[in-house]
Symmetry: D2
Subunit: 349 residues, 4 copies
Amino acid sequence: MIIIFKSGATDEQIDHVIKRVEALGLQAHLSRGTFRTLIGVIGDESLFQPEHFQAVPGVADVIRVLPSYKLASREAHPQSSVIEVGGVKIGGGYIGMIAGPCAIESAERLDAIAGAARAAGANILRGGAFKPRTSPYSYQGMGEEGLKILREIGDKHGMPIVTEVMDPRRVELVERYTDMIQIGARNMQNFVLLTEVGNTNKPVLLKRGMSATIVDLLMSAEYILARGNPNVVLCERGIKGFDTQARNLFDVAAVPQVQGLSHLPIIVDPSHATGRPDLIPPCALAGVAAGADGVHIEVHNCPEEAMSDGPQALLPEQYAEVAGQIKKVAELLGKKISNVAPSKAGTSA
Amino acid sequence: MIIIFKSGATDEQIDHVIKRVEALGLQAHLSRGTFRTLIGVIGDESLFQPEHFQAVPGVADVIRVLPSYKLASREAHPQSSVIEVGGVKIGGGYIGMIAGPCAIESAERLDAIAGAARAAGANILRGGAFKPRTSPYSYQGMGEEGLKILREIGDKHGMPIVTEVMDPRRVELVERYTDMIQIGARNMQNFVLLTEVGNTNKPVLLKRGMSATIVDLLMSAEYILARGNPNVVLCERGIKGFDTQARNLFDVAAVPQVQGLSHLPIIVDPSHATGRPDLIPPCALAGVAAGADGVHIEVHNCPEEAMSDGPQALLPEQYAEVAGQIKKVAELLGKKISNVAPSKAGTSA
Amino acid sequence: MIIIFKSGATDEQIDHVIKRVEALGLQAHLSRGTFRTLIGVIGDESLFQPEHFQAVPGVADVIRVLPSYKLASREAHPQSSVIEVGGVKIGGGYIGMIAGPCAIESAERLDAIAGAARAAGANILRGGAFKPRTSPYSYQGMGEEGLKILREIGDKHGMPIVTEVMDPRRVELVERYTDMIQIGARNMQNFVLLTEVGNTNKPVLLKRGMSATIVDLLMSAEYILARGNPNVVLCERGIKGFDTQARNLFDVAAVPQVQGLSHLPIIVDPSHATGRPDLIPPCALAGVAAGADGVHIEVHNCPEEAMSDGPQALLPEQYAEVAGQIKKVAELLGKKISNVAPSKAGTSA
Amino acid sequence: MIIIFKSGATDEQIDHVIKRVEALGLQAHLSRGTFRTLIGVIGDESLFQPEHFQAVPGVADVIRVLPSYKLASREAHPQSSVIEVGGVKIGGGYIGMIAGPCAIESAERLDAIAGAARAAGANILRGGAFKPRTSPYSYQGMGEEGLKILREIGDKHGMPIVTEVMDPRRVELVERYTDMIQIGARNMQNFVLLTEVGNTNKPVLLKRGMSATIVDLLMSAEYILARGNPNVVLCERGIKGFDTQARNLFDVAAVPQVQGLSHLPIIVDPSHATGRPDLIPPCALAGVAAGADGVHIEVHNCPEEAMSDGPQALLPEQYAEVAGQIKKVAELLGKKISNVAPSKAGTSA
């Protein structure tokens, strides 16, 4: 931690700060410059809240040197984590291929989509039973009935499943059905929900909020890790931008940034990041080329009849094409796509 | 709703869209331009989900003409709403003056702050018992004990109280103690929580999310209104910006924008919007001059000892100065500050 | 300057940096923390380019403590500057009221607008002769003929004039006609143009670029000051935001931020900041309430016939109303509107 | 064009608009909806300025259906353009590999860098002789002396050259020396400069401004095309974002967005987009995987001694590694890297 004083800070103000630093059991290393005075704080930074010092008279700024996340940091865990989702590996050289419809609509439709997605290369099936919708008048999902369908179809095709939870009162319910719990972008800083999923031991797919910095994302992961659940996969899914021709702004550089700071895997979601079928394949490839540990793509066999977010889904044949290219780029970078269990469905694979 | 076709859309594609529009009981009004064809959809737009049409082959874009929020719109309710919080009016010419510490720390401290804030012109007391903190290691609030203190001190000084709820399981608890329930910026799109507070009849202070558009904010208000609770006060508290010298970017134009689209009152929170005591007074005055229906400012009598967010609080004497100026600007615009009940504290007022 | 080392920096790397610092005639003050090592650099920071050190092996970050602008800083010139534009004062308690059409279209129209604007309280007349248009097919302005008209009409109404220059080859021409030279937002970092207007001694109205930080703006002012022209007035005119319902995002907090860092006056331009007549008056008042040293508003007597940017202009009667309110808010803050010379037009004032 | 009326628009207002549309020789197609009335304007949209209608009483909004750029649009030129730069092709399946130092510092240093870059796979040499610097006190470049060195070293290594021009008065000078003229991000809307380079027939490398939308970028290209110069290559080099851990926000989705709207090639510049050597290789690969027609990377053999922007350069050996991977990703997508002429330098290739 570095404390920088205002140009007119008095000796009393500087002494007051030094005493407060020392009272915390830390050392204060004073540097008086020609124009500015600063203190380097030495010792265990976790004892120190920068905001306590920012409000002290005479202080201009307090700069953190160490990250405020610990368990999520690469310093704490230099090797890249590999997270297993029902036998499918994500991270550390393994690419997760998550695919499926935005919302679960019926067993028949999900079965058709899952079969096609698996045949095309997907290894985890997604589908929403509880949908966060900006309008109270939009379709809100099938609820527990949807969870049952997702479990059944996932099992049929030998694919682990992931689905979103929005309500802390339903974490236990969702946990019972699913292999991986998704926290949506709008809930990335729903600390109550993060704490609840941290109390489970299911893998968590944590999506980046639309105005979250990389550090904000890692702090939210820290909430889950701090409760004892180490199985967190991060997801870049587009942030807010000023050009509204695409739905969001796909921040592909978030992938290597996260990988530099943290051991946790990070995947990309070009469906939500762009909201446009023409942009999904190039952004999916861009994500993998940048080092992403997986790709999350919405797939639907009839986008115009989708109950939710049809325009951001690929058709199964479009998915098959991009999945093939993803595989080649991944191999070029020395990575592989984790196998799934044998399918119990006669028709697929 | 206007549906615009791609330049190469075929007659079959156009006919297919017209049939789907008519199947919804709406009329399709076709215009074939030199370069582009478009359909004006006529009838009750609430029957229509734009996304169903965006995914249809041949369609380039679907443009909404009517807002997707209804109850929150000024068209539905041309007169500005006045929301009463424990006898204090906000909106329709009445300015709410919400003040208090970020977190409730002790009865003694809150008592001192409340007395000073009321004497300075505040008419609603704020204080956090459950704190949304970006770090799991930061102070998380006093919980129910804090709610009791807030109630007691509010009553003593004759001030209605407002406090944040983060957990849908605690809405009932918070509702029992408080006069107004706050939904924080990070929970603006926590639709589960919005639904729960919509089920109460307490006034709700709904803070704008850091990447929420004006329409997003009104859609979140619509969630509360649609559950039957009409008592919503909106709050501009800064959005995400690219210049990190201030904590957030204070979007003062949100005030007249909201007032043009909606009948709901909107207040400003320069404490969170700027995070800097030097910027709070000018931004508070700017908000009122732009037409805001109230001002939310954090006040603390010893910022450097605050458990949370000390740097964004004003000292009581700083608050008194800006509150005096706010009153003058409000009067200049023909508005007044709603009176509070007589204080039961001998020392204040 | 503070140089922070990576956690694994070697002693050789640290020594290498210390030697480079000392070779510049500066002192390096080393602090070895438990987790990180850092160096406080002491001496004249202007001898030091941070980027030279950012690329050195072992260095994690280099943090500037002093601003990189000097002449524009309040530390260099603690008293607020008052800039005189043809006898009209801006800054230090004087409010500049700049008004006029986007583009000069004819002497008759400008005469009518100028007369009305002056009668309403404007003290400087604006009008564009060279227009920066995003489309090469849009109206580009009257050129020198427009400058002549602007000079003539300004003189008739006793109002100093301001107009934009876009081409360094025309600075001399524009300088000959005008009392104040405007640098538009898109040219804020056109360093060639900044250097040319810095070589004149005319007051310069420097508009903030749409993605410029406050420091970027002050660095651009520094370009002008460094050439010997101290007469710079800054202008907040909206930055790029994610909500496209208004044209730009009016950053009202820029006003007190600039005033804290710099002695230069700063005015606001709600016409360009919002692009909507309904938002111009509230944002104009907000700017003055936040401490702005002036207001720039486009005024046109027939917006629907304007050659450029009609929708962001007020009608003369709308301008008169907001100008009256601006005056009251300014007086409330102890400021006044500088008088203009007597008008030579029988009809105005 | 679609003109949407406010809900309370009167018949007189609607008639007035219809008459104005018809006066332009266009047809007005009226649709009266239950809640809103709109007009579809049919005919040649280039006769129509939306802003003339936005300011008309009763009008709520005017929506463009056709793009305002014409020559740059893919509709005008369905086949992807291939731009030749001194024999090196960019676009239409050919990848341009532009590399070199930020600033030209000396013939010896440039010779060493150029030889290494060419050997690693670069086919165009870059180097700045006129540098746009945010500080007037930073190094501003070698000027014409630098142009001579760049020409000489490019010729020696058989590499065409590209360099930036900032001043319209120097376009002729720069044109004389270089094979391709660069317009920097800060000058993307310097319309005077765009017009001047449009008057030459040299290929132009047009960098996207930090707050420019895709349409803004294409409109700036249109300025050049409209003057008769069809040789424009666009460049995504990072836009302004809210997370300051990287220098800018690399908008990789801009690549397929531009390619959908325009026939012009678009390359990526991960050096400026990220400003961090650790992020340059992953973002370079991401860009190519997303379909970019080339990659612009700064290369320096001693970043810590660079006169400008050392931290965003790769070492020659780092460049060689990423260039090899770029080649593989390009081949995977069916593209190739255009050959350069035989080098005249004994040491390189």
